[in-house]
Structure formats: C-alpha cells, structure tokens
C-alpha cells in the first residue's frame, strides 16, 4: 500500500463520539443526504450499488443457512435432521436463492453498478431511474421468493424440471416461478443499462481498446442477460400455464416433450453460468494486474475471450442433457462445443499467469483472493472438461462429482472473486482501509474451508454418491463428515470479511485516492467519490494498465 498524502481525519472531529469525518467524506456520495429516502429514492449508481451490496449479502446468508441445513443433515447416513420433503425444500431454497439472488446479481449489480461509470469516465449509468427501478424489482422478486420458499415450500430444485414441476410437485411452484420471473426483469434492465452505458457514455479518449477488462467482462455478461433471461421468462410462463390453466405444453399425455422443457431451461441456464462467472473473470483480471504492477499480458485476448465465452456459452446447453435422451449426434456436437469453451477460459488463466511472471507482487488480500479464484476456477474448469466427455459423463452424471464441479466454479470462483472485489474496491467505496492481516487470514481460510468442503465431494461422486439424496450407504459417511466440517470452517471464514470491513467503516484510516497504487479512472477520484464522480469529465490518452514496470533483480 502506498501511503502518500493520505487525507487525515480532521482534528476537530476527534472529540466526537461518532465517525471522525475527513473533508473528502463530507462531500462524498455517502454523505449526500442522510435520510432513509435519500437512499431508497436515489438514482446515484454508487448508492444503488450499496443497496445491492446489502441485498445480495442478505440473500447470501439466507442461501448459506440453507446450505448449512443440508450439510448438517448429511452428517449421518440416515438423514436425521430433515424429512425427505424438508431436505428437498432446503436444497431448493439453497439453489434458487444462491443462483438468482446472489450469484447472478452479485458482481454485476454491486461492482458493475459502482465501477462502470467510474471506470469509463461517466457521471452515472445511461438510465439512472431504470437502475433504481431494477433494484426494486429485484427486491420484490427476492423477498417474494423467500416468502414462497419458506412459507409455501417448493421441492423441485432450482431447475423446475417437468413433469415433476408441472404435474407432480407439491408446494408453490407457480408462485416461485412468478417470483423468479419478476427477478428476471431486473436482470434484463440492468444488462440493458450497462450495454447502453458502455456504448454511449465513455469519456473522450476511452476507446474500446482502452476499456478496463472488468468493463469488457460486464459487457459480455450484459449481452447474455438481455438475450437469455427472456427465454427463462417464457419457459416459466409455460410451466405456470400448465399448472394453473391446464395448458399443457410439455405434458407427455398430449404428445408434448418434457425434454423440450430442459432445452428451453438450459438455453437460459447454461449462459446464466457465464453470467455468474464472467464478471468474476473480469475482477480477476483487474486484481492480477494491480497486484503484479504490470500491464496485463495479451489485453486483446483477455478482452476477446470474454466475448468468445459469451457467444460459445449460448451453444453448449445440451451438455446438461447427455443422459436425458437427446440424440447422440446432438450430444456429440454439444460435447465438442463444451470442450471449446475451455479455450477462451484457458487463455485467461495463462494470460494472468504471464502477467504475474516477474511481476512486483504484493501479497495483499485482493491478490490472495485472486490467486484463490484462479486455482479454484482451474480445478472447476478442468473437471468441467471431464464432464463434457460423453463417456465419462454417463458414469458421473447426477453424482456429487457434478456438485463439486459447479461449486468450484460458482463458489470457489465467483464467490472468491466477489470477496476479492469487495476487498479491493472497499477503500474506494467507503473511503477507509481495513486490516490487511484479517483480510489475508480470511482469504486463506476461505480457500482452505472451500477445498475441505468440496474436494471430498469429487471423491464421493466418483464413488457413486448421487445428488439430491440425503440417505446414503454408511461407507460414504467419512467423506460427508469432512465436507460438513469444511462447510463449518467456510461459514466462519465468510463472516470474517463482513466483520473487519464493518469495523473499518468506523475505525479504518482514510484510504486516499489510490491505496493500491493501481491504474484506472476510478482511482483518480477521491475515496469515497463525490456525488457526480468527476469534477470535470476526464480525457484518456493511453492504454489501460500502464504500470511502471519494476522488474525483480535477475539473479543469474
């Protein structure tokens, strides 16, 4: 951390009981209005980002509680804690909340909202009111979902597969579908807002080749949000119509095809995986460049691979249906295309590694989170290749191997990147630095806890433990106990950042404009930024990541 010219707290404030406010903070967006309505009716993208941060954190802990129930129930082979129905409902809550109300909105809606205008030199997003509206739609959808899942209960899993969901499932499938449908509007409006902002509001000189890589990845994500989410919407409408009005579309008795439901669902939901992970890839690029203090290696390839992942991501949905009865020729094509996604993903990992090579690396918390992200994303990606192979997939389909694979991507990848982003941009958002020691400790504990939770699940899956069962043969118990202990560690480690970051809001030292010595327009404005971001609209005249390279001494 460079600590040149830190704005000190004003001495007149030291006697106060409350915050000792710096001059920067006094004119920042955080202090522009103190009433509740100044937050709830704000159109400032930075305040909306904070609203999203609070909301997704809330949903993260709800989803985490459901995960804790699941793991505790799996401690014993008999499933002593929950009934069969209760277990099904618990993993449905976990899946629905984590996918739609944490993973999808987490990085784009908090950090995308906060950073995109700052990174491209704009005063706000293109449609500030729409931005606020999408937060309200998100909250309406989220709280309604929570109510339905807890009060009514849904036992279909987050995938709502027919004919289970349309003909057999008990509980409030229709209401849950309506709630997710509502949340989808929020996704579409946010994606639309980001795309228009990135196209139309870049400051003079901010050409496409000078965009920060985080902006590129959010751009790719937004394209998926706008094009894939409506397909989920219509799919949910079809399910609701079947349950409510008997207008069967997937009903086999009428000659309908339940497999068609899976095609429509995964046409959205596989790209949705990239909605979840692409922003994380963008965060990793920023964190790696800032930590290595070097220009990112192969900028154009890292940027282009985000777009490539978004495009190929639309063409691989069939790999969820290898054993569902689709044509083997279709499966072969989907298998090939799924393997092809590894190419742009691999480009990113190799380019990050090349960026770090001989970099002047500082072992700050954001870097540790980025390293943890890269490691876990690589394990998740490589096991993804294993699953994309037709013959192996038949063996491990619907086992814990799949569960472990996507948790390595979703939780190991996206959640690590979320915490990395939180730790990296926190001084910018709040204007205070936090304890680096606690930051490092939590990064390491999250990494260890994660691996202890999910690595045993690879073994379980390989040995044949199926998904969605809570009663299992006793020989699997040891690995399940490891996994549950890991989940406990992970739970504690996840609480830590919120504790030390909250503490820093009150007791942290003022951060200064650029605590990490990073490049990028967001670091040229005060921390926390003033309400309108820039005094004068900046002009960009160079490529991004122009660090003065400080090479290590070459011994030998």
């Amino acid at each position: 951390m460079t600590d040149t010219a830190l704005p000190q707290p004003e001495s007149s404030n030291f006697q106060n009981e409350g915050l000792s406010e710096t001059g920067t903070e006094r004119v920042s967006y955080l202090r522009a209005g103190h009433s509740l309505s100044s937050w709830l009716l704000t159109t400032d993208h930075k305040r909306i980002a904070i609203l999203y941060l609070i909301a997704v954190t809330f949903f993260f802990f709800i989803g985490g509680t459901a995960a804790a129930l699941i793991r505790l129930d799996l401690l014993t082979p008999q499933g002593d804690l929950l009934t069969n129905e209760g277990y099904n409902r618990a993993f449905t809550i976990h899946g629905v909340i984590m996918v739609w109300f944490f993973l999808i909105p987490s990085i784009p809606n908090t950090f995308g909202n906060f950073l995109i205008p700052l990174m491209i030199g704009a005063k706000d997003l293109a449609f500030p009111k729409l931005n606020l509206a999408s937060w309200y739609i998100f909250m309406a959808g989220g709280l309604f979902t929570l109510f339905v899942l807890i009060a009514g209960g849904v036992d279909t899993g987050w995938t709502f597969y027919t004919p289970l969901s349309s003909m057999f499932a008990h509980g409030s499938v229709v209401l849950a579908a309506v709630a997710v449908f509502i949340a989808g509007f929020s996704s579409i409006l946010t994606g639309l807002n980001f795309i228009v902002t990135i196209h139309k509001l870049r400051c003079p000189g901010m050409t496409w080749r000078r965009l920060p890589l985080f902006v590129w990845s959010i751009y790719a994500t937004s394209i998926i949000l706008v094009l894939a989410t409506p397909v989920l919407a219509i799919t949910l409408v079809l399910i609701a119509a079947e349950r409510l009005f008997g207008l069967g579309i997937f009903d086999p008795a009428l000659g309908g095809d339940p497999l068609l439901y899976q095609h429509l669902f995964w046409f959205y939901s596989h790209p949705a995986v990239y909605i979840m992970v692409l922003p994380a890839l963008g965060v990793a690029s920023e964190l790696v460049a800032a930590a290595a203090r070097k220009p990112i290696f192969g900028y154009q390839f890292v940027a282009g691979s985000s777009i490539a992942i978004a495009i190929i991501g639309f063409l691989v949905w069939g790999h969820h249906m290898f054993v569902a009865g689709q044509s083997m020729y279709a499966s072969a094509v989907f298998s090939f295309l799924s393997l092809a996604v590894a190419v742009p993903s691999g480009i990113k990992v190799y380019n990050w590694t090349a960026t770090l090579y001989k970099g002047h690396i500082s072992l700050d918390p954001p870097f540790l989170f980025a390293m943890s992200f890269i490691g876990l994303f690589t394990v998740g990606g490589l096991t993804g290749l294993i699953l994309a192979m037709l013959a192996i997939d038949v063996h491990v389909h619907d086992t814990y191997f799949v569960v472990a694979h996507f948790h390595y991507i979703m939780v190991g990848g996206t959640v690590s990147a979320f915490f990395g982003a939180l730790n990296y941009w926190w001084p910018k958002m709040i204007g205070r630095t936090y304890s680096l020691v606690w930051g490092r400790l939590s990064a390491i504990l999250i990494f260890l806890g994660f691996n202890l939770t999910f690595f045993p699940q690879f073994l379980l899956g390989y040995l044949g433990m199926p998904r969605r069962y809570h009663v299992y043969p006793p020989e699997f118990q040891l690995l399940h106990v490891f996994s549950t202990v890991g989940a406990g560690l992970l739970g504690v480690a996840y609480v830590m950042p919120f504790a030390y970051l909250y503490y820093s809001m009150r007791y942290g030292t003022p951060a200064g404009f650029n605590p990490w010595g990073a490049t990028g327009l967001e670091w040229t404005v005060p921390s926390p930024p003033p309400k309108h971001n820039f005094e004068t609209i900046p002009v960009v005249d160079s490529l991004p990541y122009q660090y003065d390279v400080e090479l290590e001494e070459d011994h030998g």
Binding site: A122, A126, L192, H199, K200, V226, P230, I234, L260, I537
Partner: protein, 212 residues
C-alpha cells in the same frame, strides 16, 4: 412551432447523445422481447416436427380469414403510429395525438375481433380453457391449441400494454406535457414497441393459421 431544445440531462453531455442512448436502450429491450417470443416459436417448431399431420389438421380448424382481417387491422395501426412519429418530429402536436389515438382504437378493434374469434372457437370446442367442453380428435391437437392460446394470449397482453401506452401518450402530446423536440423520443420509443407487437403478430399468424 418549434420549441427550444433543452440541454441534455445528466449523465449526458449533449441532447444527441441522450437520444442515441434512448434509442439503443429501446432496441435492446425489443431484442429481449424477440427472445421471449422466440421461446414460443421454438416450441411451435418442435411440436410441428413431432406431430406434422396433427398440427396441419389443427391449423385447418382455425378461422384464418378472421386472422387475416386482424393482420390487416394491425398493419394499418402501424401506419397510424408511423404517421404519429412523423407528425411529432414536425412539431405538429394535434396531428400526432390524433394518429396515436387512431392506432390505439385500431388496437382495440383487433382485441374485439380476437375476442369474437375466441368465442367462436370456444363454441366449436377448440379452446382448451379451464372448464371448456373441448373435442379434440387427437392429443397433439390439444397440445397445438394450448400453444395457440398461450401465444395469442401473450401477444394480446403485449397489445393491451401498447394500447394503454398510446392512450396515455396521446393526451400528453396534445396538451403539451411532452416537450418537443427533445422528449419526442417517448413517442418514437412507444412507436417502436407498437411496431414490434405488430411484427410478432405477422409471425404468429402464419405459424398458427397458415401452417396447413
């Protein structure tokens, strides 16, 4: 009666930029609408491939002349809306509002005709609504009519939203609530939405009525 254009609102620096952003946002929204109906058309394609003979037979049972009439009504309404946009661009508020109102009335005519058509189908036992006494010779015909109800119903809901939109905008335009030329974008965006709803019908009509 050209009114003086106001400066662009933050975060924009000039009116042109604001206009372009609004247009781009609208086109992206319409893109997402196309993906929404795309799901319906994908299902229509699949069930037709699965049951070609049954689908042709079901399609023959629909009243294609009523559908043709409605297609004409909607295309005419699109002409009205396009005229409203031209009038708005020229600053002719009264003419613009009149064209918008005419389009909204045409939309209502479409819905009335559609309602009559649903009624006829209900009496013929073709409309698979809850409680209806339907007579289908084969199960896939039932499936086809289910999709028909969903597709035309979803389209009707979109049209209804369009009618409400135009009905609100027409008096606003007439009585000067919409500043011209800078807020003329409202009329242009609403018109784009109306055209899209029209175009979707232009695809629904052949896929369901003429697939014989």
């Amino acid at each position: 009666m050209a009114e003086t254009p106001l400066a662009a609102r933050p975060p924009y620096s000039e009116p042109r930029q604001q206009h372009d952003a609004a247009m781009m946002g609208m086109y992206l929204f319409l893109g997402s609408e196309i993906m929404l109906f795309g799901g319906i058309f994908a299902v229509a394609a699949v069930i037709r491939i699965l049951h070609p003979a049954d689908i042709v037979e079901s399609s023959r049972a629909l009243h294609y002349l009523i559908g043709a009439l409605n297609t004409g009504v909607l295309l005419t309404s699109s002409f009205f809306v396009a005229s409203a946009v031209e009038a708005t661009k020229g600053g002719r508020r009264r003419a613009g509002a009149t064209w918008l109102a005419a389009a909204a009335v045409a939309g209502l005519v479409f819905l009335v005709v559609k309602g009559y058509e649903y009624g006829a189908e209900y009496r013929e036992g073709l409309l698979p609504l809850p409680g209806a006494d339907t007579q289908f010779r084969t199960a896939p015909q039932h499936l086809f009519m289910n999709l028909y109800v969903l597709a035309t119903g979803l389209h009707a809901i979109h049209l209804l939203i369009g009618i409400v939109l135009l009905s609100v905008l027409a008096p606003c335009l007439a009585f000067g609530k919409v500043r011209l030329p800078d807020r003329g974008i409202l009329i242009i965006a609403a018109a784009l939405y109306w055209h899209l709803v029209d175009v979707i019908w232009v695809f629904i009509y052949p896929v369901f009525y003429l697939a014989r």
